[in-house]
Symmetry: C2
Subunit: 661 residues, 2 copies
């Protein structure tokens, strides 16, 4: 429905007003009628389209009816087709008549100036601003959706700057401008009309702390760009140029969707009429556009790797070399975080999660910094944040627990669950089962993840583990068939079955941890005879089974989508579970290359029977298994290969705005 | 999809487990297979339903196939039909075979106990808890929707209590219990099974501050009811009684929907298995129910009045008497707030808004206390809050402005806008147009109103008024035709038209304010000749026109749904607009009886021409107009009849959960 403005007329004196292209004026014909008038006639110049609304019918003029009764509710509507060349160059005349009278008893004249005022964005999501017939004031999801997109300008295009690009009100480079979304104000019509009217660009009070708007006027010089809206600036008076019909504004996001912020931000341009000095202005037209701030998106193991991260600490040279060799196989650059920056903190998986933000005009990676904050605390801001590499963080004012480390934050590959599509997968986080005093992820982190909407998080039960991360019992690997992946679950029962099989084959005296100095070396027979270990692993198995059920339902998986990776755990009620031998599901996945913690299982015929079993499960999927010795460098410190590495991956080909959350 | 739990078997020793009615067990047949086994056979006692899932087909047993290949992904699923009488009274046996072997090479036995564990609510919205096939873990809107409803227990059933019922953790009366929603835990099966298992009722951490749960065990004595969940209590161990299959919990809401709280709250009951002392328990079954906290709902002028409120202050006896007479006509009780409680604050419309909350089992009124807090500050808590009369308030930490008074908070009758139904109407609030320093409603109040979802607020432009309330320029009255109501808008142009008509009829020397002492008495001629007044009213008219357009679009109104009530305003840029004569749209609507501020318009033929015109507009709708003299008691203090009264009205017949927001 077009915007409509009521205009009062007078038979005493002519009325002048502005009609904005695309809107209607509703003339108060009854309000200006002389006392005895019972009918009226209305006539306009060719540029004016006139309609009479009479008893709920709308009749376009000229019609065969030339006089209309002055009944209550009778309206004259008008619209105009093109901006005026001069002020008041179109007219409407209303003549009033008495009963059966042939001579008008009064006339009301209306002088009209048509102007075009339009705020436009990339509502069609093509990567460029265009005029559109789409409803600019709404934002819809899905392949047929519309509405513009805004990026949180959270990178640092100027390496010398101290803060993120959106934490100041200056434009330091054209690269900075390119991260922003354009918003174009088009004004056409006689320029003199804009001296008696004012154009105000404004943002709602509740949105003002979420955005920044920059404007360079007619200039393209960087220093001419001024911060005109956002923060305490709620409105900006635009002076339409005499020479240009378009004013280009650059919009940046300041905040990601979160509790209390849906991500939607509206901007308005309002035309204010100021009849004369000393009287207040009144709004006569508003155009509204809506942006959605792009969510932060995680990438699953099945996405192609772009950059591998590992820390160099004391005595982990072999591990770094092994990871480097894997990276080389996949032609993926390796970034080694030096000791000076990691301060002996090797758990780079736990400090950050790599994701990205995307708009039709721009995509860049964004690192999510966990509230964990150990030795690697400063690494994300100092060394990852940079040109076209954004940064976001959440704190845990209640105090961070081990469950706030991002080894406890994973994402599944794309899935479909009972007809509902998750084309960007679902986030998986570990939580406590509601026991008194259980650990859980910080509220601010969980709220942030939920608010992104596009990867609806699933809570798993991970607090039974000493460290408590989901990557201790699950992983995803690519597969050529079925859903394109397999879910790997650590499985004590699969491990017991394997060891029993080997015992029955006569290898009961084969020992574990062969070749590891100062590590006690139990035999298969000893492990199978250890009733305490078996009971504890039964408990572990039931915890993993609980998660298996949640995962099957939340990701729509069948048993054939799951592979059980033999694994034993040890521990007790007080300390929680830890891997008994290097935790094989805690692996690094780079395309078809898997870097798996070397389990040091019993040698059977010179072969580690655990490695052999894992190869037998994974190689038929076209995967290559590299077993990496992390025993002393990571395993004994309660982590493994996955905990000690991190991967920036390729964004999804699927555009997030094409989904329906 | 039924909950499914993975169970590991063994050929070494029998396995015992619990199967919860309505869930499935997934038997790990491959995991317990002896080394050379290639096929299996599975058999169960009559109470066990068995399925083999083989190559994505699910076959119910007994089938003609008696041996199944042990392929990866082959699953045995089982379900049970009725709770067991004794522990382990049903069995499943799996026999494993070698290639072409007729004799089993191993057998795995599973002893099963079926128990029923079910958490139920009034998910069907009938007013009573019932077993349901509806998905209890989801909540849907609409006539076919499902999901239970919770009331914020914000009344004070015990008049001697100091706080709201939901601000303590005690049950003081059966009336208090009746405001709560029931949640029933059903447990059936051999009682001894619950000694080796634990039943935990729990609430998510993020919901715990929104609810309170009380439980009286087998007792119905009030003092036995204990606060078991909510606040810092996240979990409660339920001991199933030997004699009763049902445990009844009473749930109260603590908070209305608001920013960061959708209104949805989930409760879970989890069955924990504790295999033996010293080992941790593991969850084996969870049932989840979801409640939505009922929103606070406003009632429009078209709803039947139930109670009229007015303040008794110095020198307003006549006004109180006039309001009393109107209340009597509509057989509506009148509550007079005495001087002691209002401390000379007569603006009872501004201090509170009456609304209600509704669940299938209970409905009660709730007064919303504004952050205005003048003389009437304590009246809502002291005199309105009470048994089955709730209370809610929001503060304005940024400081309250005049726009926070609830004369600036109205609600339309039910409307349909371009096919979208608002069966409870839409809330209307006045705001500033974005001028620097404009006043606006407190964020906490606006956020609260938006969060209720069912009466989607519309923001109007009211800051052009000195006081700045929407009830200064609009009202709704019932009508027998069209949409069931008319929108009344104050109209300077209608007033000028009327006065000019009277001037032309020869009454130019008729004076306003006849009979009012010490009030200057302008003639029609003088008013029409006052160019300053005319210009200011043109400005006022354009402000009202702007709102007219918003209202037409937001409420789906046609011109015929609007009546223009003649009215003049005075003022200037600095002070804003005030009514020039008593503001007629600022009326009290009690059914078909309207209490309208007496305008003291020019007398024409002994009749006030303003009253005459208003009668001519409203009486054809079957309405009765009573003009109440509020000149010295309210008008000169910048308010009128509506500002000085308030009405509690009948809740909508339409149930809010039947709508789709």
């Amino acid at each position: 429905m077009a915007q409509q403005r009521r205009v009062q007329l007078s038979t005493q004196r002519p009325t002048s007003t502005v009609c904005v292209l695309g809107t209607e004026l509703s003339l108060d014909v009854c309000g200006s009628a002389p006392k005895d008038a019972v009918a009226f006639h209305v006539q306009g110049t060719p540029g004016v389209k006139l309609y009479v609304v009479h008893e709920t019918q709308s009749v376009k003029l000229p019609s065969s009816v030339c006089r209309w009764p002055l009944a209550a509710g009778t309206e004259v509507l008008l619209a105009m087709d093109a901006p005026s060349k001069d002020v008041g160059d179109e007219k409407v005349r209303i003549s009033y008549f008495r009963e059966a009278g042939g001579v008008p008893v009064g006339r009301a004249m209306l002088y009209l100036t048509c102007v075009e005022v339009s705020l436009d964005t990339d509502a069609g999501r093509s990567g460029a601003v265009s005029r559109t017939l789409l409803d600019k004031a709404t934002w819809t999801w899905g392949p047929d959706g519309h509405g513009a997109i805004l990026l949180v300008n959270c990178d640092r295009d100027d390496p010398k700057a101290e803060t993120l690009d959106n934490q100041d009100t200056a434009i330091r480079s054209y690269a900075d401008l390119k991260d922003m979304s354009q918003m174009v104000l088009r004004t056409r019509g006689p320029r003199t009309i804009f001296t008696g009217h004012r154009l105000l660009l404004h943002v709602d009070f509740s949105d003002a702390d979420k955005v920044g708007v920059f404007y360079g006027g007619n200039s393209i010089a960087l220093e001419e760009y001024k911060h005109v809206l956002g923060g305490s600036k709620l409105a900006y008076t635009v002076k339409p140029s005499r020479h240009q019909e378009e004013s280009i504004f650059y919009v940046e996001g300041l905040a990601f969707p979160d509790v209390g912020f849906s991500g939607l931000v509206a901007f308005h341009v309002t035309l204010l009429e100021s009849p004369e000095k000393g009287l207040l202005e009144t709004p006569i037209f508003t155009d509204t556009v809506v942006f959605r701030v792009a969510p932060w998106i995680m990438t699953p193991n099945t996405a192609a790797p772009l950059e591998v991260f590992v820390c160099s600490v004391d005595n982990n040279e072999d591990f770094v070399a092994a990871v480097g060799a894997m990276a080389e196989k996949t032609k993926c650059p390796l970034t080694i975080c030096p000791l000076l920056e990691n301060r002996q903190d090797r758990w780079i998986q736990d400090e950050v999660e790599f994701g990205y933000v995307q708009a039709p005009h721009k995509t860049f990676p964004v690192v999510f910094d966990s509230p964990r904050d150990r030795g690697l605390k400063d690494f994300p801001v100092k060394s990852i944040l940079g040109p076209d590499f954004g940064y976001v963080a959440r704190q845990a004012p209640e105090g961070a627990s081990s469950l706030d480390s991002f080894g406890n934050l994973e994402v599944s590959p794309p899935v479909t669950v009972q007809g509902k599509e998750y084309p960007l997968g679902r986030i998986l986080i570990g939580s406590s089962f509601p026991r008194f005093g259980g650990r859980r992820m910080a509220k601010a982190v969980k709220d942030f993840l939920v608010a992104q909407q596009v990867q609806a998080p699933v809570e798993l039960f991970s607090d039974w583990l000493h460290v408590g991360h989901v990557d201790e019992f699950l992983s995803f690997v690519p597969a050529p068939d079925r859903k394109g992946f397999r879910l790997l679950l650590a499985s004590p029962s699969a491990c017991y079955q394997l060891l029993k099989e080997k015992q029955e084959e006569g290898f009961g005296e084969a020992v574990m941890f062969e070749g590891l100095k100062e590590v006690s070396k139990p035999t298969i027979n000893e492990i199978l005879a250890n009733e305490g270990l078996r009971k504890f692993n039964n408990y572990v198995q039931s915890c993993i089974n609980w998660n298996r059920d949640i995962l099957k339902r939340a990701l729509g998986l069948a048993e054939s989508d799951i592979l059980d990776i033999p694994q034993l755990f040890r521990g007790n009620v007080a300390t929680g579970a830890e891997a008994f031998f290097p935790d094989m599901v805690n692996m690094l996945v780079l395309g078809r290359h898997l870097g798996i913690p070397k389990p040091f299982g019993p040698l059977v015929g010179g072969q580690c029977c655990l490695e052999e079993r894992v190869r037998a499960l994974l190689e038929p999927l076209g995967l290559t298994c590299t077993f990496i010795d992390d025993y002393f460098s990571y395993h004994v410190l309660s982590g493994e290969v996955h905990c000690g590495t991190n991967v920036r991956r390729k964004p999804f080909a699927f555009k997030w705005w094409h989904m329906v959350p």
